[in-house]
Amino acid sequence: MVNALSCFLKKKVTEDLMVPDEDVERTGRELKQQIDAVFGRSLAIRELDTGSDNATEIEVNNLSNPYYDAERFGITFVASPRHADVLLVTGAVTHNMAIAAKKTYDAMPSPKYVVAVGDDACDGGIFKGTYAVLGGVDKVFPVDLKIPGNPPTPAAILTGLLALMNKAGKKA
């Protein structure tokens, strides 16, 4: 057990915040400005895996680790498509996921945006034209932005979201 008294006497264990990625910070700040302007402070994202190899999920999850901490830029990952502004789709769409994917999309309120993350989601990748997949996400519902990569890095996903916000801002 940690002794409560020793906590007062010892030096604080909190480490200084490093700024390890200037690029991520810059993208994040811009993204925050755009989200504030276009979506009124918060962008709700629902992640949907339609058949990825789980590497993309890992990178999307990494956006929440202390290095990126994407929530400070106004991004929240929400539990239900009904709460979401953006559907972040990973993986080629498999036959087994097609119905569930469509239901998820239909459950989102409009206006809604769809972002395909990773090569497989963009056009089916190495699975294109095989028996098990329909192809990229755009085979099932309209896609607003594609972020290529195998998988794209967290920084690339942030940059993609910034591009989406710029696009949405122009439309509005």
């Binding site: 057990m1 940690v2 992640e47 949907l48 895996d49 339609t50 058949g51 990825s52 190899d53 789980n54 590497a55 993309t56 999920e57 890992i58 990178e59 999307v60 999850n61 990494n62 680790n65 202390p66 290095y67 990952f77 539990a79 239900s80 498509p81 993986g91 080629a92 498999t94 036959h95 087994n96 996921m97 097609a98 119905i99 569930a100 998820t104 190495i126 699975f127 034209g129 095989t130 028996y131 098990a132 997949v133 329909l134 195998n150 998988p151 890095t153």
Partner: protein, 531 residues
């Protein structure tokens, strides 16, 4: 079909295996494979007594798959892979389209047989479960993608599924029992799968897992490719097992072709395998802590994981260590200065990791959540072939790096880590020990790293071989058959495929809110199961 020259040691092993089969007469017919495995073709009359004998002698069915046009005697061959300590025996059984089920004797055969049924249309008589497995309801009837006659072309799925065609889940009856369907789309950033809970109040009475939503046709995709081209497919099986699957495939190719790769490549491959184990374990340790709402501890591990993934990018240009492992060695060398950076990092890593561990293991409220939660009894390990940290936390012994050393694991031997409680805490602790071991091994490997080339360019020969590797999740099987320089069959069986069935038992009697942490502690890959 090529066979290795029979060695004196092989004859001895063949005799031991014949003993397991219950008849000494088999010894002369058992042939040695290319990678230390043994093959025996059995007739239908010999099959059942052989299976019963193997079951009585506590062998584990670690794989069962179908191959077309493998035997001159019949259209299909069923290959049953059995393991007993460090011996692997593959029974080859001819099959024209129907076969008797062995799922009542070896429960792990249940999913395997259903997989063969979907893929090749083989009917197993006497099976207790004949539902579809990886082909869901939207696939047309009589569609069996893995047969040679079926081209790998888009199929037209059903747009709608009538209620009576929906997957029949096991139903549990009783006063106050109700069902909770979860998935395939989950609330978090997780892969898709369906969980059907039958609960009484909060207590889980039964769980049925339905997987294969992500079935992408990996095995079919590999057919007709060269083993070299297939490495990218192997890396796409499961993102955080990229190195393990690429290495398994390359070992199989190299064994078939008689390629021995340069020592430096062996060392570097092992460094990559251990790095993968570390970042994978760190991810689920962080996840387990998130699932019991302990972000202070979770962030210790997620920061280290991000550091490791950045380290991966420095070493190989890929955060998932992709595109490096290739047949004959590695695609590129790792620079000396980068290895020095890794060595410095690993030394600091161990200290930082121990700080995180101390925080976790000294928090009593957390230990209270972890202890006795999600127990996997030891009796389940053999029937379901549960391996990896999940098996070792329940008193299991299987670690492929020790029982079937590949690469240089015969010289750089890992320490066996075993606990007996089989709960979430045991799995957490086993993983913690393995992370520290991996760090130590990487240090050792960098210090002893030989100079020289990292690749040898030699042609691929025809043949078949089984290779088994220990990924972060456990035993990964890969059976490769090359004919005319092209892949005829690439069978993958990941650790997750078997371990998924353990969770149905681990959650019984637990409360529903503990399900996420139990799931995370088993660290099951959906993509790796669904293929």
């Amino acid at each position: 079909m090529t066979h290795q020259q029979t060695q004196p040691g092989d004859t001895k092993t063949a005799a031991i295996l014949a003993e397991l089969l219950g008849s000494g007469t088999f010894a002369a017919r058992i042939t040695a494979g290319q990678n230390g495995e043994f093959y025996l073709a059995v007739t239908e009359e010999e099959f059942t007594p052989a299976i019963e004998s193997l079951a009585a002698r506590k062998c584990v069915l670690i794989g069962l798959f179908c191959v077309q046009d493998f035997s001159p005697r019949s259209r299909f061959s069923l290959l049953y892979v059995f393991e007993k300590k460090s011996s692997i025996l593959i029974l080859i059984r001819d099959c024209a389209g129907t076969a008797t089920s062995i799922a009542r004797i070896f429960p792990s055969a249940n999913w395997f047989e259903r997989e063969c049924r979907d893929g090749f249309g083989i009917e197993f008589s006497g099976a207790f479960d004949k539902r579809r497995l990886f082909l869901h309801e939207t696939y047309p009837e009589q569609f069996h993608p893995l047969t040679n006659e079926t081209p790998n072309r888009p199929v037209t799925p059903k747009k709608q599924v009538a209620p009576e065609e929906e997957y029949p889940f096991r139903t549990v009856h009783g006063e106050g029992v109700y069902q909770i369907p979860v998935g395939p789309v989950h609330a978090g950033i997780i892969e898709p799968g369906h969980f059907r809970f039958s609960v009484i109040g909060e207590t889980i009475f039964n769980l049925e897992v339905r997987m294969f939503y992500k079935h992408r046709g990996i095995e079919k995709l590999a057919q007709g490719k060269t083993p070299q081209e297939c490495v990218a497919v192997a890396e796409a099986i499961s993102g955080d097992e990229s190195v393990a699957h690429a290495v398994a495939l390359c070992i199989a190719t190299e064994k078939i072709s008689g390629i021995s790769i340069p020592p430096r490549a062996l060392y570097l491959r092992t460094i990559l395998l251990e790095l993968e184990r570390m970042y994978s374990h760190l991810g689920d340790q962080a996840g387990m802590l998130v699932d019991v709402a302990f972000p202070l501890g979770a962030n210790q591990f997620s920061v280290l994981r991000e550091d490791l993934m950045r380290m991966n990018a420095i070493l190989t240009g890929s955060r998932f260590l992709r595109g490096v492992v290739t047949q004959g060695g590695l695609t590129k060398d790792i620079r000396k200065q980068d290895l020095q950076v890794l060595l410095d990092f690993i030394q600091k890593f161990t200290r930082r990791y121990q700080v995180g561990l101390k925080i976790v293991l000294s928090t009593t409220s957390l230990l209270d959540r972890f202890t006795t939660t999600g127990r996997i009894p030891k009796e389940l390990l053999r029937p379901l072939n549960i391996t990896g940290p999940a098996g070792r936390a329940s008193g299991g012994k299987v670690d492929i790096r020790i029982s079937h050393p590949y690469g240089i694991y015969d010289t750089v031997v890992p320490v066996p880590r075993r606990l007996h409680d089989g709960d979430v805490l045991a799995r957490f602790t086993v993983k913690a020990a393995e992370v520290l071991d991996s760090a130590r091994m990487i240090e050792q490997l960098i210090t002893g790293l030989p100079e020289g080339p990292v690749h040898t360019d030699q042609p691929v020969r025809d043949g078949y071989a089984l290779s088994v590797v220990e990924s972060a999740r456990g035993q990964d099987l890969c059976w490769l058959w090359v004919r005319n320089g092209m892949i005829e069959r690439y069978k993958v069986r990941t650790a997750s495929f078997c371990n998924w069935q353990a969770i149905e038992h681990a959650v019984i009697g637990e409360i529903l809110p503990d399900f996420p942490v139990i799931n995370k502690s088993l660290n099951l890959s959906y993509a790796g199961t669904d293929l």
